[in-house]
């Protein structure tokens, strides 16, 4: 939408920064070894997942503890459709993955997003736990034995696929949140739901739309992950640690900001991988992670992104979302 000159200048500046960043990222594989490339690919995936969770947690103000369900739906849809009986090519599985996740999100989000705070968090957590149990007992998902996906051992392909998915997610969300009616509706209901309704905003519908969008992006990365790792089982794609990582990455980077989740994901994932490669396990990672989170919450309540774009609204935003509990 048209806006004042300052806003247009700001928009163009940000767009130029994004283009330069994307060009730089496109050349990354030429300068790093395959192991590092795998880490960067993982960072892109987690950045996209954090971006997806941030739509519901940061912009709608509803803390979801069940987002691993949509990651798993995406992963399983791709894995099932690529099995020898069906044999769909990977790229063709992306659309059904996203559509299935959106349909499930609408069905689940319709009733659960009328709940507030902790009740919503518990409902989403229970839903993801239910899916783990389903995936464990169903034949189509391979049960506890999981599913293998035809291997495609090309790290460059997965790097560029993750980059494209992450870039599309961030740019799409950025545009939707900052420049469309949907974004204004979403931020309005987060800040004051009764006032948003008093202005004609159909808040229940907007919340479900946000949930479905968030689920679609999460499922997209689940699909790519399944093809990338070539094997999935209930814990690897539906486990609660997937949601936990998304939540922590967003809080670390900056809740309710466009680029904060990306920053949080990159910092957390590279720290995780560095500790893993240095100490040989990720147990020591947990206390270090706890320390980092405590420091950020105490000194940078709006996350690491506030080091770059100001911190004035952090405490208020977090307290507003927590008040819903």
């Amino acid at each position: 939408m048209a806006s004042n000159p300052d806003k247009v200048r700001d928009y163009l500046f940000r767009l130029a920064a994004v283009v330069v960043g994307l060009i730089a990222l496109a050349f990354v594989p030429a300068f790093i070894d395959p192991y590092s490339l795998r880490i960067v690919t993982g960072a892109l995936m987690w950045a996209g997942l954090a971006c997806a969770w941030n739509i519901v947690g940061g912009y709608a103000g509803y803390i979801s503890f069940g987002h691993s369900a949509f990651f798993g739906i995406g992963a399983y849809t791709t894995a099932i459709l690529m099995q020898s009986g069906i044999g769909m090519p990977f790229l063709a599985t992306l659309v059904p993955s996203v559509i299935v996740a959106m349909i499930v999100a609408v069905i689940i989000g319709g009733p659960t997003m009328r709940l507030r705070g902790a009740y919503f968090a518990i409902a989403t957590w229970a839903f993801s736990e239910m899916l783990i149990q389903l995936a464990t007992v169903l034949d189509v998902t391979g049960g506890t034995g999981g599913l293998s996906v035809p291997a495609y051992l090309n790290e460059f392909f997965f790097y560029y696929t993750m980059l494209a998915a992450a870039a599309a997610s961030f740019l799409g969300v950025w545009y939707l949140i900052e420049y469309t009616r949907f974004g204004f509706r979403l931020k309005a209901l987060r800040d004051h739901e009764p006032a948003a309704e008093a202005m004609g905003i159909r808040t229940n519908l907007v919340k479900v739309q946000a949930f479905a969008l968030s689920a679609a992006i999460t499922a997209l990365f689940g699909s790519v992950f399944a093809y990338w790792t070539t094997f999935i089982d209930p814990q690897s794609v539906l486990g609660p640690d997937i949601t936990d990582q998304m939540v922590v990455m967003v809080l670390l980077g900056g809740l309710g900001t466009i680029w904060g989740p990306a920053l949080g994901a990159v910092v957390l994932w590279t720290t995780n991988r560095y500790i893993w490669s240095t100490f040989g396990d990720t147990v020591v990672y947990l206390p270090i992670l706890g320390l980092i989170i405590a420091m950020v919450v105490l000194f940078l309540p709006n996350g690491l992104i506030s080091l770059f774009v100001g911190r004035r609204r952090g405490r208020e935003l977090i307290s507003r979302i927590l008040r819903k509990f």
């Binding site: 004042n4 008093a198 202005m199 905003i201 309710g256 004035r312 609204r313 208020e316």
Partner: protein, 248 residues
Amino acid sequence: MSSPAIKTSSTNKSPLVLESVVKRFGGVTAVNGVSLEVAPGEVVGVIGPNGSGKSTLFSLAAGGQPTDGGRVWLDGVDVTGQPTWRIARSGIGRTFQIPSLFDNMSVRENLLAAAVEGDWKGAPGRAEEVAEMLQITHVINNLASELSGGQQKLLEFGRVCMRDPKVILLDEVTAGVHPNIRIIILDAIRRLRETGITFLIIEHDMEMVREICDRLIVMNMGEIVAEGTFDEIASNVEVQSAYLGRQP
């Protein structure tokens, strides 16, 4: 104590008509069979002691609370039992007793957010006009949470103006504000009523009520106890009884 008989048009074509609306909270009847009708461009004040049911009456009109009885008509359309968002889209705008701003958005964004269900393309220009009318242009890029109490009242009023409603409900819009801000609000109400917008105003500031309202409705214990011009109300013994505890 029963409400005085209020004439409602047989077709209910007035901008706002309440017919015998009732609201109970447990054993307490907050609004007890209140009826009123507001004409186009009319400014009606609703006064009464704390707890008399004024804000609840607003919530019933705007859909914030479901009614336990009676009907609400907006511009000839029965909106009883409709969700708040649908009633808002029917042409009613309201402010709250405590300003309910979008604290993490700027003043400009607050104004734009009010237009998401209306003329979105024209919203930026309209936001500038509204900010100018309410003299908040100098803080238009500030976060809403950074505004003073008076500026917050102005912004909330501005958000309602952004939607071009047919009826505006103002709940103590000048309470606790600087006299200059009170003047700005009064001027804005006068300008808007000239365009045909109807106002229902809850107010404790009797000077403002006297200046701006065509008619007053006095509530006590959930019922209308008197209705008339400011002078008629000022000399009404039942009103004195409600406010001062004098026996009529």
